[in-house]
């Protein structure tokens, strides 16, 4: 009944296409003997580099992102609205750590895919008519993958693309506050 984390990730991986540039991690985690404190990923974990890795500085990295050279970014979210608005960086008074590169990513990449739970810990929908939290970007999300299925952002609202294993049509609709057009 519904997808677990691994299944959600596997479904997200199906959004990738051969030969495109995507924003993800950079390499496998190091073994004890391989650790280089100066080589970390965006989450500040130590990683290793594959032999064909390219290195470039942050200004160039974000130039690629803003300049539309990256095909897709996969991100988590607190809220997604039916017009594609995304809120995933701040909860006023509770979580005020900063946006990092999230705003640049959603403003620049060609396709934004959100992977998140369909409802929050209180059982409330995270797929809303309008975001209540401070936005990361306006009308940026293209696709939402949750434990209940897949929704696409289209004119007028969201389109139901796929149901997760064992999830019914009415189940996903009752967990979604946003308008589903089909």
């Amino acid at each position: 009944m519904a997808w677990d984390r691994n299944q959600m990730e596997a479904r997200a991986a199906r959004e990738l296409q051969d030969g495109t540039y995507v924003n993800l991690g950079i390499g496998p985690f190091p073994t004890e003997g391989e650790i280089d404190a100066d080589l970390i990923n965006a989450g500040k974990q130590t990683v290793t580099a594959l032999p064909h890795s390219a290195f470039f500085d942050s200004a160039q990295s974000f130039a690629m992102i803003r300049g539309g050279k990256i095909a897709m970014a996969i991100l988590g979210a607190m809220e997604v609205a039916e017009n594609g608005d995304l809120a995933n960086w701040m909860i006023p008074g509770k979580l005020v750590k900063g946006m990092g590169g999230a705003m640049d990513l959603v403003a620049g990449v060609k396709r934004v895919v959100v992977v998140m739970d369909h409802t929050n810990k209180a059982g409330e929908s995270k797929v809303l008519k309008a975001c209540t939290l401070p936005l990361t970007g306006q009308s940026v999300v293209d696709r939402i993958i949750t434990n209940l299925g897949v929704l696409g952002v289209v004119d007028g609202g969201l389109k139901l693309v796929e149901l997760a294993e064992g999830v019914t049509d009415s189940e996903i609709r009752s967990a979604t506050e946003a308008t589903i057009v089909n």
């Binding site: 650790i35 280089d36 404190a37 100066d38 080589l39 970390i40 500040k44 290195f55 470039f56 500085d57 942050s58 200004a59 990295s61 974000f62 130039a63 992102i65 803003r66 608005d85 005020v96 750590k97 900063g98 946006m99 990092g100 590169g101 999230a102 705003m103 640049d104 403003a107 620049g108 401070p134 936005l135 990361t136 970007g137 306006q138 009308s139």
Partner: protein
């Protein structure tokens, strides 16, 4: 002018003043000019405005300057690793300006390249764009951001091979390496390089911290 110094304090001599604006390179605890930060702590310079992607952790990196209350304002993209930072910010002791990471990198690059302002889509429609000018290009809205020009840029760098020449760090990808151009008085002649004074156990390698004025 002496270009290579044996210790960070000597390299910073005459450059520090209360209320100054410093741009610091690095990402997280990686590629940060830890020896120069420590020398600034030792000098006691205060009311600092610092632009850097992060603010270290409580006991390392820029976090040590928070502890000594030397920082008045941070311009950063993410400060989640530092509990003292949150405490000072929420109590009103510390000013904070969030910049999206790419905007901060470009502000440093642009300021160093003599570009006073630039338009980006990043942050349009969010709190980042509030109070800022916007302009439409090809039917899309962009927000105006300004170039950063600091009084001093501090960067972690590879060991210098000879005066005026420094080897690039092997892993530039993990740091915002643009602070060097963003300092007000950048000139190759004024570049000062430090040899490491001591080994810092927390990192597996010890590299020279470069102070580029």
């Amino acid at each position: 002018m002496k270009k290579i110094h044996d210790n960070p304090a000597s390299a910073l001599e005459g450059l520090l003043f209360d209320g100054m604006f410093i741009a610091a390179g690095g990402f997280g605890l990686c590629g940060i000019p830890e020896l120069l930060i420590d020398a600034i702590r030792g000098a006691g310079t205060k009311d600092l405005t610092i632009a850097s992607n992060n603010c270290g952790v409580d006991d390392f990196g820029l976090g040590v300057l928070l502890k000594t209350r030397q920082i008045k304002k941070m311009i950063s993209s993410y400060v989640g690793e530092n509990a003292e930072f949150m405490r000072q910010y929420l109590s009103g002791e510390l000013e904070l300006e969030f910049n999206p990471q790419g905007t901060l990198a470009e502000r440093m690059r642009a300021g160093g390249a003599g570009i006073a302002g630039f338009y980006t889509k990043t942050g349009v429609g969010t709190v980042v764009a509030e109070g800022k000018e916007t302009k439409a290009f090809n039917g899309e809205t962009y927000v105006l951001e300004t170039g950063i020009v600091a009084d001093l840029s501090i960067v972690r760098h590879g060991r210098p091979t000879r005066p005026g020449i420094s080897s690039s760090a092997r892993r530039p990808a993990t740091s915002i390496r643009r602070p060097p151009p963003a300092a007000r008085s950048v000139s190759p002649k004024l570049r000062r390089l430090c040899r490491p004074a001591a080994s810092i156990p927390i990192t597996s390698t010890c590299r020279a911290s470069t102070c580029i004025v």
